[in-house]
Symmetry: C2
Subunit: 407 residues, 2 copies
């Protein structure tokens, strides 16, 4: 049974994990290398031709009936965040393999098919996300990556070399100028939209890009017992108002698909008997409409000025990153939509709030993404769950999409 | 010159410090032991008789003209917080010594005088404050102190033994039942009240006690890009509202002298692309009116319930400590006030927001405190500063107070 095979492969990959809680399979770790070997073995069973590029992206190719045709690519990643879930990334790899397995059984396509397993999609280990797909898209940041280290002090280049990849040839992983016919990535939604709507498929139109701010509030430290309430310049009280302003501003722009989150705050000196003299916050603003993001950030800056002035504190805002949202391609979305219609599967068009390897592949060739629901939108967490029925529906839609693109 | 001697002694004690920033002279550290030796030497020059009790409190005694009279005590501590200032504690010791030095020159009192240097007033090293004065007041918490360790893993009892004190006889440091005539402590205010009012002396009527809460907010972690603004249960957004509620409730009770501070917050997972699932806050509520503190905490709990319900998050409140404020004695305050009047020094009666050794001495004998201003209320900080003129005014008032109490 096809379904049993898929669930067995998913289970087996989940076994390559470190620790007791959830899935920990960091990029280039022994656990990820084991998962790569296992999936590579499955590709070889299907008589796919395997090559690994300099940064460790695995490309498994199934030839089509036309030797001159450009490949239709599908793929995702096998690395995870620490204590993450079983589905993020892995499902896209396994779904791609399952689709190719069906296509082999049901008759080869004209175009070749390629299953790509990207290196280091998660930023957890080295601080940079989607490194493999960036290298493939020719936008490797060799200077910054050369300095990237994990929490153990192991450098990214060192880690690549240690498992036999070629850190000094990363630029050779670029496929710019190569004819690629299309790229499709299947992924769990990582949000609650499909589950809430009771829909099994989301067709991604655009991938949101984050603007990341570091906000530093300087107040005046003082003794918590001896400083009257009306002579305080409490950095944390200012920070609290900024946290609420982030929400208010994002809520007011919600129709534009822009969201805002304060993910972390640190206080100095951070002891019970001292009024906080310093608070630092990390803010993530993202959406698919670049103008909306720019306006949200500006509106937030205006709000912060008002708060800081009223509180007598000093606030500095540093823009850490400001990426542009990526639109995916109508030609691929249309193929996914037609597959849904043919299979009588309900769907909606939607955006992706999270980044994916697909956003870099979109610079190389027509690209699309297929989302399936995950329970309560939870991801990057041991509780991450996708229902087997939804997984199989996703594979049905992916298979039909690949076949139509590759015919 | 008396003034030169005081400033020279203050400077010399400041030299016993570790590191480059501010003063670091942790309890029982080599630096504090050096400061103790230096001050003990000064007491010996004045032919005071020195004894050291089991917990290391140093008691230097100058006999009076009546061998049967109970001693009038003065004192403070020599230990500091990490990267603290030059005045907290030290000034009370040096001022006491300067006062005794004057009294020797100007003619002995009827009652003996004792200068007490208390062990471990700051909680920085072992996690417990005012350990020496607690032991003297017979309220040593032997069970808890037996487990107390510093950040290097050195136990409090071990540290006492290492410098020659007697950890297994701590109870013998109690002076319960012993006739003590009075205790006076001079200290920098550690708040901005005197400086703002342009007054050189504060007479302390009560010492505030802290009620400390740990507030834990549980929300639901989620991806910062994929979770719509209206389906979030963001623990940090709830926490921000609680931080503002602490301020609002404390401001509304300000006339009662009660203040409230959130000194620290920690967020989990605390990464930029995840909505905080957990936020923990440490709150310090203190004042000199116990009923006001109780009502403030209750009002805060009510506010928190409303916030938590509106946000769909769960909030747990743990009361870590809840001490009662300490009233100081009118007989001693009156002596300080008369000294101010005699010397034509302006003053105000006020409360202490910070804890001091005096609050435990108040259980043994009539006790008072004299505050002098410190710049911008800053304490526990390298910028801590008290003006030499204010220091000398404080010593004048202290000397006259001790003489009148000891006559």
């Amino acid at each position: 049974m096809d379904r049993d095979w898929v669930l067995h492969v998913m289970d087996t990959v989940s076994g390559f994990s470190r620790g007791e809680t959830g899935i920990t399979r960091l990029a280039l770790s022994p656990e990820e290398m084991q998962a790569r070997s296992y999936v590579t073995g499955l590709m070889q069973e299907l008589e796919m031709r395997i090559r690994v590029d300099a940064i460790g992206n695995i490309i498994g190719r199934l030839e089509g009936t036309d030797p001159a045709a450009a490949p239709v690519c599908v793929g995702s990643h096998l690395d995870s965040v620490p204590e993450g879930g079983r589905y993020d990334g892995v499902l896209g790899v396994v779904a791609g393999l399952a689709a190719i397995r069906r296509i082999i059984k049901e008759g080869h396509t004209k175009h070749p098919l390629e299953l790509i397993i990207f290196t280091a999609e998660e930023s957890s280990r080295f601080g940079f996300a989607t490194m493999g797909s960036k290298a493939m898209a020719g936008i490797a940041d060799l200077k910054a990556w050369g300095k990237a280290k994990d929490s153990q002090g192991i450098g990214f280049l060192e880690a690549l070399a240690a498992v036999g990849f070629l850190p000094d040839q990363i630029e050779s992983a670029s496929r710019i100028g190569e004819a690629l016919h299309a790229f499709v990535e299947l992924h769990i939604e990582q949000g609650p939209v499909l589950e809430d709507a009771g829909l099994p498929i989301g067709i991604v139109e655009a991938i949101a890009a984050p603007t990341r701010l570091k906000i530093r509030v300087e107040g005046t430290p003082g003794h918590s017992g001896t400083t009257p309430m009306d002579s305080r310049e409490d950095a944390l009280v200012t920070a609290a108002q900024i946290i609420l302003a982030v929400r208010e501003v994002a809520l007011s722009r919600y129709g534009e698909g822009t969201v805002g989150t304060v993910g972390n705050i640190k206080v100095n000196p951070g002891v019970m008997n001292v009024i906080p003299g310093l608070a630092e916050m990390w803010v993530d603003i993202r959406g698919v409409d670049h103008d909306s993001i720019v306006e949200t950030v500006q509106e937030l800056k205006d709000e912060i000025s008002i708060i800081a002035e009223a509180e007598g504190t000093t606030v500095a805002i540093e823009v850490l990153t400001s990426d542009k949202p990526v639109r995916l391609h109508q030609s691929v979305s249309a193929a996914v939509e037609q597959a849904c219609k043919d299979l009588k599967v309900s769907y909606r068009r939607m955006n992706s709030g999270a980044g994916h390897d697909a956003m870099h592949m979109a610079a190389l060739c027509p690209t699309g993404m297929i989302f399936i629901p995950c329970a309560r939108g939870i991801s990057h967490n041991p509780e991450e769950f996708a229902a087997p029925d939804d997984i199989m529906t996703g594979i049905d839609v992916l298979t039909r999409t690949l076949r139509s693109l590759a015919e």
